[in-house]
Symmetry: D2
Subunit: 196 residues, 4 copies
């Protein structure tokens, strides 16, 4: 299980590096937008979508009115809503289109992406840059260089670093919100699904 | 496409027969429970679960506070909630367990089933009997008889008759609710997802 | 429950009318493409997506190698695959984009739509026209005319007629496939999920 | 964003501690069962289910024949299959029932749980113990003690530690499998969904 250990070390190192360099201003902005909005919509595809769902689950435990694009119940987006997009490359077609639609409907758009010059970043009112090899880096030339290979592949193939780092950062956002909204773990447990 | 036509005729015949013999009292009870409850939870597995989702989608268009068991966001069930279970056989393990859990949590349970003497019927505060060959009939002895074979198989294998008939009946319930709540199609369209 | 009955009558009338006028050639084409392809992908959003899932469930019971766009497991589309799109209006953004992507990847595209001059129809190798008021008709001028109101609204709001009719037609396609592939209901039952 | 940082530190510390103490034997067993099985089924509810889906996504990129309980397509489980259950408490009703069903159908059961004396552990052919506060610890007496509060709450409410640690461990398992099966990142990318 040599590679299990190596992978856990590499990913946790990356997580700590990202959180160390995280923009305080962007993070505060995200927290502020979450607290001020009326409803939250979360969107991502593939594993980024799963990260969004994990975050949405906890937001609902915190009594946020939250919806996941792709779930059965997704009402129309409107003014006052916060639309959160998750895309490492920032170029995933359906994520970009949905964000544009949300913006047109009057919502604020916040995105988590590795790519600050991406289309999703351009559409967003605010972004949180989460460094990671994204699935598009895979196609880039520098991907074959020893330096990059040695550092990020194949211990964290495709979007792994971005996805896992987003997951843990968003769990941090939940704790930050708990403090700001004076919610206890008991409050969360009361909202946790009781249908197993 | 001989069998496509035959199937559509058989299924629509069955739908009409079911609605003709539908218990007016049970149907009124369902409408009443829907109007009085605070939130609706819908549950079914497999194709019955899809029928439940189609119903939940329209309920949300009607501004009901509705959740689908299995979706990302499913808060704790509590008193005042209506829990709707869909199971042809009425014996699907996880559906029965979830209904028991909902009842214990203080919710009212309503179920759609073909089997009025099933476990789910026993757990429920009220039921709507929707006749159909269910997937368990398949295992019963009389299934091999020509009479049954001729009438229901294989033009509507497994739970098809139950599922399709529930779907259309629940679309009828939506129209009944629109009338009772004085909602127009425009009201529904306003809540329809605008994120494609 | 006056409107439940009226709705069931209207929808079953519509189903019968559609199947009566169905293009035999288009239906044979669909069956043929299904039998010849290596894998099937099904795509739709909202209630059309649920109809696609109900169809995919039965295809898997028939041992087709089938995937639903939006499920966890969706491998890359490639040559030899059949991509089935379901969209009443034929203009749903993400459905159109996915179909274009599938075509570019070398798959054949088949679509069910009400609108033969829609973008999805243009992208498709073959289509099956399934008449219905689609959610876009709602916005058209003639929608307010008494004639249309009287016939289709509000007994079947938004895409209801299209969705329910697709569902039952696709159940007919399953029976047609069972005959062609000499599958019995027992064959289907053996593949039916045994995890409840 | 003080608590975002604190949370990331606590969770990454926990991840490293768990991987450091991980049973080499149990991990090798898991890898071995994955390589030998014919098909993999993954099951969990809530956030544990999302972790399972993230793992299943990568398994499919590695060309495993993998299914997620709760997805549209879930064929019958049979001999030769590996059924992977994820439950921190090891007592989640539907997870336990599904695992029992899988075992009865002839599959091998592997589970990830914090609780080695749980029902799911009893049902399983092999387990991987992943330490974490699980959602049931929340109800235990010692939960209110300062020691526990200081260490695990509220920086990682409910099942957070278990879920996030499973996620990263399973990403390590993917890399281990890549090495054993001599798969490159290019192999994974070829199977990555090309429908966005």
């Amino acid at each position: 299980m040599e590679y299990v250990k190596k992978t856990v070390l590499e990913i946790t190192d990356h997580m700590r590096e990202v959180v160390e360099k995280l923009s305080e201003k962007d993070m505060e902005k995200m927290i502020d937008m979450l607290i001020r909005c009326q409803r939250v919509f979360v969107h991502g595809v593939g594993r980024s979508g799963l990260v969004g769902r994990a975050f949405a689950t906890r937001l609902s435990h915190l009594k946020f009115d939250v919806f996941v694009v792709g779930d059965t119940i997704t009402p129309a987006v409107k003014e006052g809503d916060l639309f959160i997009s998750i895309s490492g490359s920032g170029e995933t077609g359906s994520v970009v289109n949905a964000a544009k639609g949300a913006k047109k409907a009057g919502a604020k758009v916040f995105s988590l992406t590795s790519n600050t010059s991406s289309t999703i970043a351009g559409v967003s009112d605010a972004i949180l840059r989460v460094k990671g090899r994204t699935k598009n880096d895979h196609k880039k030339k520098f991907y074959t260089s020893e330096q990059v290979m040695g550092k990020h592949a194949p211990l964290s193939p495709l979007g792994t670093l971005f996805e896992d780092t987003c997951q843990i950062l968003l769990d941090g956002v939940i704790v930050e919100l708990m403090r700001k909204l004076r919610k206890t773990e008991d409050d969360l447990a009361r909202r946790h699904s009781n249908i197993e």
